[in-house]
Symmetry: C2
Subunit: 106 residues, 2 copies
């Protein structure tokens, strides 16, 4: 786990500008933004990818948090996209949900 | 609601080849596929977009279904992407979660 960049952010070993955090979830900007707003919603627990979220409370919490962040980030009416990569497509093996907007082309 | 294409699919007024369905959720292919596999995971209830999912059980159910479909569609190790568009970016105003794979470029 020590090599995981998101675990290191969680543990304060790598600095990140948190947009939001609580006991389960942390939200911070993608370091390579692909839109004016590009946030990552990340479980604090090291879960390698989406299909390994087995706790239904965490699953619910993650997506409820995404809904709240859409509102807080001013993306509600602003052409947002949620993206989750998996099965080898992801760039970091610690689940992260991309929230981007506004998207100019779908 | 009668003009909604996904409500019409739900009600059998428009034909679709269901990959899966139960009392809450239906899954069928996108008619304009952007990958070899391109499925839509859709709540049967007419919910205009992601931020309007207020029922926590449905929120949990939707994403649990996505996990199951990833496995059933053979995408688990196959560079999949989940996408949700909202805030005016969506093409149909009835929530649908895109599941695509394999994606050749992130």
């Amino acid at each position: 786990m020590n090599d995981c960049i998101f675990c290191q952010i969680r543990d304060g070993k790598i600095q990140a500008k948190f947009f939001y955090q609580d006991e389960d979830v942390m939200v911070f900007p993608d370091i390579h933004p692909r839109a004016k707003t590009h946030l990552l919603i990340v479980p604090k627990k090291h879960i390698p990818e989406f299909i390994f979220v087995e706790d239904e409370n965490l699953r619910e919490k993650l997506f409820h948090t995404v809904q709240q962040i859409i509102n807080q980030a001013g993306l509600k009416d602003n052409r947002y996209q949620i993206r989750i990569n998996g099965g080898g497509l992801q760039d970091v093996d610690h689940l992260h949900i991309h929230l981007l907007g506004p998207i100019t082309a779908a």
